[in-house]
């Protein structure tokens, strides 16, 4: 009996060693992703706007927008963005050195031309805007999660006009060119478009 019990104990001890251990192997791969910032503004056309006032009617009513007074620009951006617009100078500078012309004789509106939509991808400055030298005037305000896109989506037109009734109603000078009695000559300023990315 003792021998039988001993045999069973031996068998019981040996079977405890029949459990197989799981075998596996591993490999580690590092993955890197570099996102280069894409932020590009291109002036497609209308990079030089020239108003020529040569009739009393134009001195009185100003010069309304025509395609020749349009600036078309596009934005390609990998992130949401804003576009600011401002004048480099406080006034339109008289190239002949005389008195300058008030900057607020220049007005503009902005519209979309591409596949993007105002209110969906970005908010465009609404209505007539008056040219100013303040750097913080945003004409395109990107909407979070929607502004990033290529030039086909972010295609804009600035429609310039000079001393029209709409401009006079919105500006500070509030006078026609005729009433301002400006000396004949050429008055210039540079307009700066600033593209900045944002969240």
């Amino acid at each position: 009996m003792k021998k039988i019990i001993t045999i069973f104990v031996a068998i019981a001890l040996s079977t405890s060693m029949l459990k197989a251990q799981p075998i596996s192997d591993m490999g580690v791969i590092p993955i890197g992703v570099t996102l280069n910032s894409i932020l590009r503004l291109e002036i497609v056309s209308g990079g030089n706007i020239e108003f020529v006032v040569s009739t009393i009617a134009q001195y009185t009513a100003g010069i309304a927008n025509l395609p020749v007074y349009d600036t078309n620009f596009t934005v390609s951006s990998s992130r949401n963005f804003d576009v600011d617009l401002y004048s480099e100078n406080v006034d339109l500078v008289n190239v002949d050195g005389g008195a300058n012309m008030p900057l607020d004789n220049i007005g503009y509106t902005i519209t979309e031309l591409g596949t993007g939509a105002d209110g969906t991808q970005w908010d465009l400055a609404a209505g007539i805007q008056i040219l100013d030298d303040t750097p913080a005037i945003t004409i395109v305000d990107g909407i979070v999660g929607a502004g990033a896109g290529n030039s086909a989506q972010n295609d804009f037109v600035i429609n310039w006009e000079l001393a029209t009734a709409a401009v006079i109603a919105a500006n500070t000078t509030a006078e026609t060119l005729l009433v301002q009695s400006l000396a004949g000559g050429r008055y210039i300023t540079n307009v700066i478009l600033v593209l900045t990315s944002k969240l």
Binding site: M17, L18, D25, M26, G27, I29, I31, V33, G145
Partner: protein
Amino acid sequence: MAKFVVALIFIFLSFFGLTQNTTARLTIESGSSVYFNINSFTKYQNGLDYSNWTRLRVYFIDTTALGAVSNKRWRITVEAMAGNIQGDAGNTLNLNTIELQAICADATGKGIVALPIPGSPIELLDLGTNNVNASLVQISYYCGQSLTVANNLLGQPADYYFVDIVYTLEGDPATSP
């Protein structure tokens, strides 16, 4: 009594020969690192992919008593080693920005999968044939292509992002020896 004890010892030792034998070995043959450089608008919009970039070699054999090949199969799983794709400047990308697919003539592919979080490995291949030596596994990578989930890169901040992923070769639990 002494003879009896010796006999018991022999019985004891003989049971060692009845345990299951499994050997699994995974070797990275090429493509041991993956690098996506998104430097154009087209790449932001369409993403980037590397087909059959990583090549793995699988050695797997599972035997039962006395060296007979069992019915056990193998599988390969993948998981990330971090909860997101970390950027050097503190930005993060979601793990599912990276999608993968594995193919192997000796196993069944599970299609394209998004990179899973640590602790939740996803099968890339299963039902791998037992008793294979240097079976070739090719892995393709897709970045920002929205193949299984929406993972477009547009709008993501510029940064250098990185994550380690781990492939595990193991016996397929869905099969028994």
